[in-house]
């Protein structure tokens, strides 16, 4: 036992300086808590050990929501964007998703500076080796014997916790990107009887730019007209790079299959469960054997680096096999691998052990966020980090936690899925996970969540007022559009016919025309004399809310129903075993999850509508 010394007292301590840790530490300190953030290496704060990009489907929604609540990721991404694209244009506003290629080192530098300069936040390079409860506080010990005391602590250990890297027959203890792993902390967490398990993820190789023949690859450009993630970003986003697309072929497949026995995944060395949506290339080749080719994206890691990321090519095959199969691909014939692909296995918690506040049920004041909670992805991590940080701070200040509903946000959906449904593999956000996706759009994240961000003190007055103004303008315009009638005329009918929709013979309501799928709000500008000049973002919202009004109303009804169920709270000390009429399976599941409301209980698998009825009756009789 090494000699320990008192290193200070804090309100909130955050273990980890990745995407979850950074948001947690910033949120807690911005709310006014004395906060300390620990990272194994100060050179890797806010690091992107996998793809050099932020956003994408549903993830873009998360970033917008995070930003509306006062998180940092959106602004950091905007400040370091290399290329920006709005995905899914044409597939409908519910699935529009912003995605940006990011200068990885610049992003990390931005985040490092953000935490360093944040008032009330101390940043410390140290490995936390144990954590224990003393009286009402949590004590965190560093490897060097420093003892930090905090009212609340957030575990955001990512793949560092018990990290082990696998490349072919070789494996060793390691964090991501060649960092030290956190080897001791897991033992300490096991002493707290936390239900830990092993998950696995992987990353492809980084290769040298000048070893690629880009003339043989397809080019993918950024959008002509770009949008920022953050409502607070005022500078336009510029595209500085292009990405490229290439494909695997039969030779690639052959090399992979010939060497499959050397993959730790197939030889059975790895016990961790990998994500279903992010399979390694050997997984893809085996599971989707009939697919002729697989797509690969070549993405630059930054402006001042030669390293290129090969999206879609993650692997844990031996290094020489990796080099061989990469070189089978057109354009990569002479490719030089700078960092090899690898799989990494790590410890995480069964998230059903968490409350919706992200506090661990059995450990008051101890919170989990990010990969530790079984999720995957920078955006998922950041979103949970923000919520864990907010709630740790609020607990330290004696306030009730902020719990977001799945009816109001993707962040709420993410957390509800994790804590009530649990996950069997690393959880990734998808638009199809939200049943309310026509309402929870990325274009209205500000309206949905800024009031909450403002209320908890993370959104400043000016930003909040701007949102209110935007919303008022939108509503006024919708009202106006609904009251405007256009008279039929040659020019109007010409437009309608050219767009492939029926001409009109009588006066027609402007809103009714916008509801036609073929017609846009902008198309009708020449006929709408009294139209005010509005921001593009406002115009977009006006169009979406008119065009999809019927669908939105339908979903709003479902939301109301869910909200009513959520408002029916279940007492913490409820004894499910004593409730006659509940089926045994329902009793078991409810006892495990212990949902805080009827709404959440209805999400638990194995609980039937009749069980919910029984619960309602029981609660009313108390």
């Amino acid at each position: 036992m090494i000699k320990t010394y008192d290193a200070g007292e804090y309100d909130v301590a955050v273990i980890g300086g990745g995407h979850a840790g950074v948001e947690a530490a910033l949120a807690a300190s911005r709310i006014g808590c004395k906060t300390v953030m620990f990272t194994i290496s100060l050179d890797w704060v806010g690091n992107m050990p996998c793809n050099p990009s932020i956003g994408g489907t549903a993830k873009g929604h998360l970033v917008r929501e995070l930003d509306a609540l006062g998180g940092e990721m959106g602004r950091a991404a905007d400040a370091n964007t290399l290329q920006s694209r709005m995905l899914n244009r044409g597939k409908g506003p519910a699935v529009y998703s912003l995605r940006a290629q990011i200068d990885r080192r610049a992003y990390s530098g931005y985040m490092k500076n953000a935490v360093e300069t944040q008032k009330g936040l101390d940043v410390k390079q140290a490995e936390i080796v144990s954590i224990e409860r003393q009286d009402e506080n949590w004590c965190l010990y560093t490897r060097l014997g420093a003892k930090f005391t905090a009212k609340c602590a957030v575990i955001a250990t990512g793949t560092f916790l018990g990290g082990r890297v696998y490349i072919g027959e070789v494996n060793y203890e390691s964090g991501p990107d060649g960092n030290f792993p956190a080897t001791e902390l897991a033992k300490s967490l096991k002493k707290l009887n936390l239900p830990l398990r092993r998950f696995k993820t992987g990353t492809p190789a980084r290769v040298a730019k000048d070893s690629i023949d880009f003339s043989l690859l397809e080019v993918q450009e950024g959008d002509e007209k770009t949008e920022p993630f953050s409502y607070r970003t005022k500078n336009p986003i510029e595209n500085k790079v292009v990405c490229h697309i290439g494909y695997t072929n039969d030779d690639t497949k052959k090399i992979i299959l010939d060497n499959l026995h050397r993959s730790p995944l197939y030889s059975g060395v790895i016990e961790g469960v990998g994500p279903r949506y992010c399979p390694s290339i050997e997984d893809k080749v085996v599971r989707f054997a009939d697919k002729k080719r697989h797509q690969m994206f070549v993405e630059p890691c930054g402006e001042n680096t030669e390293e290129m990321y090969l999206q879609g090519m993650s692997s844990s095959l031996p290094e020489e096999v990796q080099i061989a199969f990469y070189r089978t691909m057109k354009g990569l014939e002479n490719v030089k691998v700078m960092r090899n692909a690898y799989a990494i296995e790590y410890d995480c918690i069964d998230p059903t052990a968490l409350l919706p506040s992200l506090e661990i049920k059995t450990q008051p004041g101890l919170y989990g966020a990010g990969q530790f909670n079984g999720s995957s992805g920078y955006e998922e991590a950041a979103a949970q980090g923000l919520i864990a940080g907010i709630n740790a701070a609020r607990k330290a200040q004696g306030q009730e936690p902020i719990i977001l509903s799945r009816t109001g946000s993707y962040i709420g959906t993410l957390i509800d899925d994790l804590v009530t449904k649990g996950c069997m593999d690393p959880y990734r956000m998808m638009t199809s996970r939200s049943e309310y996706r026509l309402i929870l759009r990325q274009d209205n994240a500000d309206e949905r969540l800024m009031p909450i961000g403002h209320q908890i003190g993370l959104i400043d007055e000016k930003t909040y007022e701007e949102m209110k103004k935007r919303t008022a303008l939108k509503e006024e315009e919708i009202k106006r559009v609904k009251s405007v009638f256009l008279s039929p005329g040659e020019a109007l009918n010409e437009l309608l016919i050219s767009k492939g929709t029926a001409p009109v013979n009588t006066g027609v309501n402007l809103a009714d025309l916008i509801r036609r799928p073929q017609i846009s709000y902008k198309d009708l500008a020449p006929f709408d004399k009294a139209r005010p000049i509005l921001d593009d973002t406002v115009c977009e919202k006006v169009e979406i809310e008119i065009k999809y009004e019927g669908y939105i109303e339908r979903q709003l009804k479902q939301v109301d129903e869910m909200k009513r169920l959520e408002s029916r709270k279940i007492p913490k000390d409820i004894d499910y075993n004593s409730i006659s009429g509940l089926r045994i399976e329902a009793k078991e599941k409810l006892n495990k999850i212990r949902p805080d409301s009827i709404g959440r209980a209805s999400q638990v698998s194995g609980v039937s509508p009749a069980d919910i009825s029984v619960l309602l009756v029981y609660l009313s009789s108390k």
């Binding site: 994408g56 998703s97 309602l616």
Partner: protein, 454 residues
């Protein structure tokens, strides 16, 4: 949960003077207005609590179902403490079921087991001490419903619904993969095959929905009339059918009419059997009433067992019975096979026939087999399965409506995100029908079928 408006038939199954359809919840009166057309000018929504209106129960298209009386109760002064409308129609399963169906189509959801009592309790209308027993009831029904769902899953209905669900799920997953992983080379569905897939699913559901009524008959019993002129052996047949199957559930003599009803099980089929007065010309006023009733019974029954004495030539009264039976689901029971045949068999060429000797109990097996063949579940709509209860019906209807809307949306050219939400609704309704939870199925399907990843 309790904010929905629900409805159910509140009188016991089987024959009674009236059947009552109870509707309870916020929209009860609004919904009832769509299914009840008053004789006077006042709609139910114009009435105060504790009022009654006379009129007719109607379908959504205005078609008459039956004459009816509607009672309006306004919250909190009702059994459940909510707005309640009770529509009384004539006894017998058909009118009540038709009326309930109309009520569902107007927006009510099927009341769960013990639902009205539960609501009454939640709204403080019944004593707290009854809470436990209410829960026991719901709980017990819950177990029963589950085992029923279990059976259904084993059976055809489960498989049929599963097939439709699978197709919808696969489509939902294709669209989800297409939307959620735009960088992968996943092709979107082409509109034509998408629309035809939706049509196919919708058609299957429409067919399934049409089986509901027949399914109800199997479960609740087929109203069956035994008819014939006097002394052809109707009562003997009635007694024999009853005796043969020792599974008489209820037996009660009609108190105000000369029709005796018995519920008997013939193989898998339950018959609600009515013995009627012999059909013949008479000047006797009392007899005349009996004959009129018999004719009416014949007309309203779903199945007619027409009895003929084959030991004598057919007379005008027999021919009248034959005429009355035309166009009905009917079995001509040719009785008295123990005596020499004197009647002309060719008169029955348009009928299903069974030759029996009621006296000697001969031919009963054949008769049972024929009844099962005509009314059994297997016969209903060929290879189709049957929706057995209102809950299933309402789920299937929800699914069908959602698919139909999805199809419309798709054809109108609206973006796929709106279409997928409707397909989700359909999948959820069908999953509810088969007692499964849909929430993760689409996601699982995506990962199973599509090669996706960064």
């Amino acid at each position: 949960m309790t904010e929905n408006t629900v409805a159910a038939i509140s009188t016991p199954k089987g024959e009674g003077a009236i059947s009552v359809i109870r509707i309870s919840g916020e929209d009860a009166i609004k919904i009832a207005d769509k299914c009840f057309m008053p004789l006077g000018s006042k709609k139910l929504s114009d009435l105060s609590g504790y009022s009654a209106a006379y009129g007719k129960a109607v379908k959504g298209d205005g078609a008459r179902i039956d004459e009816a009386v509607a009672l309006v109760f306004r919250a909190p002064k009702s059994y459940t403490g909510e707005d309640v409308v009770e529509i009384s129609v004539h006894g017998g399963a058909v009118s009540a079921r038709e009326c309930l169906k109309a009520v569902f189509e107007a927006g009510a959801l099927p009341a769960g087991a013990g639902e009205f009592t539960k609501r009454a309790f939640l709204n403080g209308k019944i004593d707290l001490s009854e809470a436990e027993s209410v829960m026991e009831i719901i709980g017990a029904k819950n177990e029963a419903a589950l085992s029923l769902a279990e059976c259904a899953r084993e059976g055809k209905i489960g498989r049929d619904i599963e097939k439709i669900t699978e197709r919808l799920l696969y489509t939902a997953a294709s669209l989800a993969a297409y939307s959620d992983f735009p960088d992968e080379d996943i092709e979107g569905l082409d509109e034509e095959s998408f629309t035809s897939m939706l049509s196919e699913c919708e058609n299957k559901l429409v067919r399934l929905l049409s089986t509901f009524e027949s399914g109800q008959a199997v479960l609740a019993g087929v109203p069956t009339a035994i008819v014939g002129k006097p002394n052809v052996g109707k009562s003997t047949l009635m007694n024999m059918l009853s005796r043969e199957e020792r599974s008489i559930v209820t037996e009660h003599a009609g108190t105000t009419r000369d029709i005796v009803e018995t519920q008997v099980n013939v193989g898998t089929v339950t018959l609600i059997l009515s013995d009627t007065a012999g059909i013949h010309d008479t000047d006797n006023e009392v007899e005349h009433i009996g004959v009129d009733r018999a004719v009416k019974k014949l007309k309203t029954s779903s199945l007619v067992l027409a009895l003929f004495d084959m030991s004598r030539p057919l007379d005008a009264e027999d021919k009248k019975v034959i005429d009355l039976c035309k166009g009905k689901k009917c079995i001509a029971v040719l009785n008295k096979s123990d005596l020499p045949l004197k009647a002309d068999v060719s008169a029955f060429r348009d009928f299903n026939t069974v030759t029996v000797s009621a006296k000697n109990s001969e031919g009963m097996d054949e008769l049972s087999a024929k009844i099962e063949e005509i009314c059994g579940a297997g016969s209903l709509t060929g290879s189709d399965t049957v929706l057995i209860n209102e809950r299933q019906y309402s789920c299937a209807l929800r699914a069908q409506k959602a698919i139909s809307e999805a199809k419309e949306a798709l054809i109108s050219g609206i973006t796929l995100d709106a279409v997928t939400v409707l397909i989700d609704d359909a999948v959820n309704a069908l999953s509810e029908l088969s007692g499964k939870r849909a929430s993760e199925s689409v996601i699982d399907e995506v990962f199973k079928n599509f090669c996706i990843g960064k």
